[in-house]
Subunit: 333 residues, 2 copies
């Protein structure tokens, strides 16, 4: 899919268990400029801790964000307790987050995705977009660190990732691998990056996930969103049906295997045209299908629910319980 | 000095005019945990704008930080005015900043510089240090962007820089070069990074500067600090003399050429032992001398003064005016 120079030669010594996408809509307040949904982010971080450090006790978590908190002038006092901590080897996860209400205004106002850095508006928008998305990245790294997750923020721009006419051409993941091997949880994000043909563009979190999945072959990928999963029509419409399982075939085509319509015992049928107007659902499935085609299970579910706990734990890899609500996209040979 | 793999093959198309070190003490409140000296940072940013974009008018600056300001819910309204802006090609500068009251507590408490990531305290300290220094980096990038400087934060960790037993072994500067060629001002910082032998360490801003200077051969390097320059003893002591000019010879040795003691017409003499107890002055001169030996002028002066304006403008390259207060360290063939 993408050409990659350096990563192929440095396989990670630790197998990556899971790549998690924190959807922008799940962790930010979508219609409030640059506002984090603190409650959701805290819940998501706590669930990630449980998945990363099984049997961890929330009451005993020692946070790794030692910055002073607003209104305080001293760092947290628990820092001295670390010396008595046992060594905990966490699972290898990678977190990638979207932008939500961060970066969007700056990018769309200036048209960074269309390129043209010689235009003052685009150049300023590039700078403004990076400020906005890196400030969200910092807050997510902080939230994860407060849960005792050894999170490390990594910007695609700084990692040297770039595109050519919006196709990813350079994305050396050796630093991501080194961070994982050192026991950290890399936290990447959608970013404004350089493009060799159009000078600059926006690299989305979904494209990052696809690239990392292809290179690192994680056991599974989880997309945490603000809805339960993929529906056959916008979920606010009456009668919208949650698609629970999609099978992807060798040629990249996909079909719904669950639920089956009761009267025909056939998969739900829907036309592509209908979906393209319903918030990019086909795009979402197509992205997920490209990952599933590699033999990697993809689970799309709502952040901060029992269903996301199950998805992150990896127990869905065997069979999907009937009461799990979400969309599983899997390869069918 | 340091081995570098990729950078040698990609020379920048733009010559770097200046590398500026923003000393931690100059932009943060040294004894107040994680507190920025907002007034100083604003003044330094304004002076940098004047150096980068000569003849720029402070009243007409359109900021590049479009994030909402505290207490506001809307982005700044001036964004629409960018379309009427002329294209401005700024000078090629690189900014590197220290940590000051950011990162220091986290790093020293955990001993990140000594390595040992398998110890829970060190691992947590690594995460906490990166959170602290990247939050300072973001604030500096914001301050520069508000002055219309196209600043781009770049973390040495994310750039893939690492050391072996604290000696820099991998520091691919190709991304720094690409950012400069695209018209941006990279803003790097002292960081917690991986070390192939001791697992992790702290990479200081001064080491970054030395590496960048050796690779990029800027016209000059400016260290902005909280004192006027290098003195013959701690500047708080009575009778401390500001050393205005130091000459560095081919073999790396250096001597004071200005001021000369009036009664002997000889350079000021001082013993190395005496300085080692006076806040690392010899270390500072030695670092600067290594850069000067490359034929690159180094100016150490107080941030936010008329003297820093002169140093940043490059006019000291010819001759140093008698009323300039600071320390110039230059190669003498």
């Amino acid at each position: 899919m993408e050409q990659n120079k350096a990563s192929a030669s440095i396989p990670p010594t630790k197998r990556v268990r899971c790549i998690v996408k924190l959807g922008g809509a799940a962790i930010t307040c979508k219609n409030k400029l640059e506002t984090i949904d603190e409650e959701n982010l805290k819940e998501v971080s706590s669930q990630l801790r449980q998945a990363l450090i099984p049997n961890s006790d929330s009451a005993k978590v020692l946070g790794m964000d030692w910055s002073k908190r607003p209104g305080q002038s001293e760092p947290p006092s628990f820092v001295d307790e670390f010396s008595d901590q046992p060594v905990v080897d966490s699972e290898s996860f990678i977190v990638v987050h979207g932008a939500g209400s961060f970066g969007h205004f700056q990018a769309s106002k200036s048209g960074v995705h269309k390129g043209g850095l010689s235009q003052p508006l685009v150049k300023a928008g590039f700078v403004a977009t990076r400020i906005s998305v890196t400030s969200l990245n910092l807050e997510i790294v902080r939230a994860l660190a407060r849960e005792g997750i050894p999170s490390i923020g990594m910007s695609p721009f700084s990692c040297g990732w770039s595109t050519c006419q919006r196709n990813m051409t350079e994305a050396d993941i050796s630093m991501v691998i080194k961070a994982i091997d050192a026991g950290f949880i890399p936290v990447l994000h959608g970013d404004a990056i350089l493009d060799t043909l159009q000078e600059c563009t926006i690299l989305s979190g979904d494209v990052i996930i696809r690239h990392l999945a292809a290179e690192l072959k994680p056991e599974f990928v989880v997309f945490l969103t603000d809805v339960l999963g993929v529906y056959d029509r916008p979920p606010v419409e009456p009668g919208a049906i949650l698609i629970q399982e999609i099978a992807v075939r060798e040629d990249g085509s996909w079909s719904v295997v669950k639920p089956r319509l009761e009267d025909t015992s056939k998969p739900v049928e829907f036309s592509v045209a209908a979906h393209d107007t319903t918030g990019g659902m086909v795009t979402k499935i197509t992205e997920a299908a490209m990952i599933a085609k590699l033999g990697i299970d993809v689970y799309i579910t709502k952040a901060g629910t029992d269903h996301s706990v199950k998805a992150l734990s990896g127990i869905l890899k065997g069979s999907i319980p009937d009461d799990w609500l979400g969309t599983a996209i899997r390869y069918m040979s």
